[in-house]
Amino acid sequence: MIDTATLEKVLHDHLPKQRWFAGGDDPAPAVRVASVKVLKGDWPVLLHVVAEAAHGAAGATPYQLLIGLRPPEELEVFLEGKVEAYIGEVETELGPAHAYDAVFDPELAIHLLHHIAPGADAERARVLHVEQSNTSIIYDEKLFLKLFRQLSAGGNPDIEVTTALAAAGFAGVAAPLGVWQEDDFDLAVVNEFLAGGSEGFALALNSLRDLYDRREPPEACGGDFAPEARRLGIITARLHLAMAEAFGTTDPDASAWAADMVGQLERLGDVGIDTGAARAVYERLASATDVGRATRIHGDYHLGQVMRTDAGWFVLDFEGEPNRPVEERRRPSSPLRDVAGMVRSFHYATAVAIRDRGDEVVDEELAELARAWEARNTFAFREGYRAVEGIDALLPSDPAACDLVEASFELDKAIYEVGYELSHRPDWVVIPRAAVDRLLEAP
């Protein structure tokens, strides 16, 4: 259908411009087209392409592309303003054509949906967002297609987990309606779209704007988030119970957790963190015996991964931390690691809401309200979490041990954030650094 050499040539320019391209600053990756499959052979043509890009010594990474082809005289209005979606001119069996990212082509996007979930039907498609690791399309505001960009063998954790959770009767997850798999690779998945929902982070910011304007204690504000935080805690505990049921539990080795944490601390180098104090926390974790059970967890749990719908809270995106290898993401860990992730997110929300205001001077009163909001919602979240029947079986039996494990994961997460902010948004680093200092101050 298509001349591979020209395709490789245009992809060579196209790939580095994509958000999901992991090659970083490498402007000239070596691109090899590994496979081309024709999903639709007449105009407009739809191709499934796997291209491997080799950057440096890291080896070749396989990327998945859906390429649309239309004859040169056709004006692709849907590409207007989306320069990065245009791939280039190519030669095909049908003659010269424009090649472009087919997710933006409403007609081909529908074709793709039928290919993945033959029972599903829709009239309209729109690209919701292009993420680091995937691209998602919404159909009729009812269906949600996630296309994985970087392929890794062994199945996608999100599909694996959502399918298992739904089978375990967990209500807070959208179960897959259709999965596209080839050999050992998960290529795409179709879920129900959570229409009318609000992202947890947006709700938290809404509550905080109210707080910062009223300047009254959070419990006295109309926008109090605590009832939601409590419900979120409940759904989180149910998530972990369903995980335990679906994937089982293991007896964890706290010293391995601690070793990972120390490893992260060391990789970060000297960034002004009191490493001695941090190591002391991790050492206490390493020698702890009462640390609860380990099970499959969400792994990248924060307010941006939960959605408040009219049917309650839903949990999204079980990919785990995208920077970690898949095998590591699958490894059982303490459910308290998710709890710690959410607690860190409450702190982030308070800080982001202050940043959003754009105040020129630091407002001490707001900082105090922010701490009160964080404390109140952290308490409500934990209370909701621990009130769920059966969750005790996964947690350390001694409350102090529970606190130690959670605090260790919180510290680990905050230190990870310091590293992330330093390399991505240096002027944000004050947020996690304040958290690290606070966590290390605690007796």
């Binding site: 009239e123 009318g196 609000s198 947006a202 809404n206 304007d213 009219d310």
Partner: protein, 572 residues
């Protein structure tokens, strides 16, 4: 062959589904207008004000009980179903009111209490005499007070049992409400027929229907809580069948203060009540306002089951009772208390007794937003007298009287309600500097074109011009901004395929808010803002971007195809 008669509805359009498009106006007869200067509103007084109600644009009046009564429960304790309370006037006055209302295109429904009577009712007086008289079985009697202990006590503040001992008959009688309101015994066919006669009597006089008070409790059965029993539904179906035959086009509106999933049973299969109140929506609207997010509203609407085609919800912001919190969870109830009732006097039973304006801190923007929601959410809006001028309340009056003070017509004595001495009024008129009649009254708001009253009138005009608000489907749109509630109401004409589409966008926040709406399925359509008929930019492929002022809202009608009055084409 006999055609069903339509007694006095000659001035009204022949439309049996009128109630689905109507705006209802709840009138407290006692407090509306006093024609004979005795300090109490009356039927003639209300009749005098029909011109005002016609000007305002309401479609149907709902009268609270005006029957003969010792008035120990605001007239819900009826002592003669076939007579008018003398303070209110005569049967002739009632007939005249109905006819004059119909002449102006306004329908009239009235409260009817099916469940019980006053203990002063001659039926009860006879029934209590002994165990063998003609009416001995018209009420529910028992030798002890232990039967049906599963039934909850509704007025927990004043009643300790659903049974009260009658010293004359020496037996206990059953009452789900106050002890002076014995429950009628619907297992007795004479009672069942007798109450149908009552209903027919008033329909013959011209009433367009009833709001049935406290319907879930008509029957009692062992081992049940005595609520929503099959027998009760069967009786309501019988009643509906009777009036559909004898008085087509009349409406039965049920008061069943239950969760929507249970209330829908009262619609039956389109063969029971035409309308039911949607109770939980109201507290959820207040909660959404406090939280500045849409979920309290969308959540309860998502939990509301579909209802039969011929039926309609009745929705309201406030009414003569307290803000009903029976239907929210404990957590939400605590929250509502904390937000609205810092003063314990504002709490009564499990509700809050305040009028709309004080509940909203007298914020006109919020009052407009709330009415815009009331007029556009699915259901027929029911307004409470005085809310159109943002009247206040008097929380120092006992029981629920705080929201039942005289209507404020003018800045003159007693707010123009009555020429009686102030001390003679059934309740004092409001005279405080914020809500008193010198500050808040119909006359001054009629003179001021930018008043709330004129705004309400304009909204009712727009609503009337768009039946889709009453009968359209309802779909909530996704919006990333949780403070914004956006939804589509739509009807499709079966004959022509013509679509009538209205888009409503509301900002529940006190801050200005942006929102992107996914309207790609209306690509090429043009939104016209309905109050000013201003065309907005056409909807394109990208999300439709709207900015909203604090508590702002838009009603757009969507029209297919480019508009000739599109401002962008006019300029060039």
């Amino acid at each position: 062959m006999t055609e069903p008669q339509r007694p006095t509805n000659l001035w009204l359009p022949d439309d049996d589904s009128w109630f689905k498009k109507a705006v209802f106006y709840e009138v407290l007869l006692r407090g509306f207008n006093d024609s004979n200067d005795d300090g109490t509103g009356d039927l003639v007084g209300l009749t005098e004000k029909l011109d005002y109600l016609e000007w305002l644009g309401v479609d149907c009046l709902w009268l609270l009980p005006f029957y003969e009564s010792p008035l120990r429960d605001g007239g819900y304790d009826i002592s003669d179903f076939f007579n008018v309370l003398p303070e209110y006037g005569t049967i002739g006055d009632a007939a005249n009111l109905i006819e004059e209302a119909h002449r102006r295109g306004i329908r009239v429904i009235a409260d009817m209490v099916m469940n019980h009577t006053s203990d002063a009712h001659p039926w009860f007086q006879e029934s209590r005499k002994d165990r063998t008289n003609d009416k001995a079985d018209w009420y529910v009697w028992n030798d002890d007070d232990t039967r049906w202990s599963e039934a909850r006590i509704i007025f927990t503040d004043t009643e300790v049992s659903n049974w009260t001992l009658d010293p004359v008959r020496g037996q206990y009688y059953w009452h789900r409400f106050f002890h002076h309101q014995p429950d009628l015994n619907y297992d007795n066919p004479e009672v069942a027929q007798g109450m149908l006669d009552v209903v027919r009597f008033w329909l013959d006089l011209g009433l367009d229907g009833f709001r049935l008070d406290a319907v879930p409790y008509l029957f009692e059965r062992d081992g049940t809580d005595g609520e929503n029993l099959k027998e009760t539904h069967d009786y309501l179906k019988l009643l509906r069948k009777e009036i559909d035959t004898s008085h087509p086009g009349t409406v039965v509106l049920a008061e069943a203060n239950q969760w929507p999933a249970d209330v829908v049973d009262y619609f039956g299969d389109d063969d029971e009540c035409h309308m039911c109140f949607h109770f939980p929506l109201m507290p959820r609207m207040y909660m959404a306002l406090r939280r500045e997010e849409r979920h309290p509203i969308t959540e309860i609407l998502a939990q509301t089951p579909a209802i039969p085609d011929g039926c309609q919800w009745g929705i309201f912001l406030r009414n003569h009772d307290e803000l009903t919190l029976e239907m929210v969870t404990d957590e939400e109830r605590d929250y509502m208390y904390a937000e609205y009732a810092n003063d314990p006097r504002m709490k009564i039973n499990v509700g809050i007794r305040r009028r709309l304006a004080p509940l909203l801190d007298n914020d006109r923007r919020v009052a407009e937003l709330f009415h815009a929601l009331l007029y556009s959410l699915p259901g027929s809006p029911i307004m409470y007298y005085g809310d159109e001028i943002l009247m206040g309340d008097n929380i120092y009056l006992g029981d629920r009287d705080g929201v039942r003070t005289p209507m404020q017509w003018t800045p003159d004595r007693n707010g123009g309600f009555s020429k009686a001495d102030f001390a003679q009024l059934y309740l004092p008129s409001l005279m405080d500097p914020v809500y008193g009649y010198s500050a808040v009254n119909v006359e001054s708001q009629q003179r001021n074109p930018s008043s709330f009253l004129h705004w309400i009138r304009r909204m009712l005009e727009v609503r009337k011009a768009h039946p889709v608000f009453g009968i359209g489907s309802f779909e909530v749109l996704s919006a990333e901004n949780p403070s914004v509630l956006a939804f589509i109401r739509e009807t499709v004409d079966e004959a022509t395929g013509q679509r009538d589409v209205v888009l409503c966008v509301s900002n529940l926040s006190r801050f200005a808010q942006p929102v992107e709406l996914q309207l790609a399925h209306f690509e090429g359509w043009v939104p016209h803002e309905l109050l000013g008929r201003v065309p907005f930019p056409p909807i394109g492929e990208l999300p439709y971007f709207v900015t909203l002022a604090p508590y702002g809202f838009y009603w757009f009608s969507l029209t297919e195809g480019a508009s000739s009055t599109d401002p962008t084409t006019e300029i060039s």
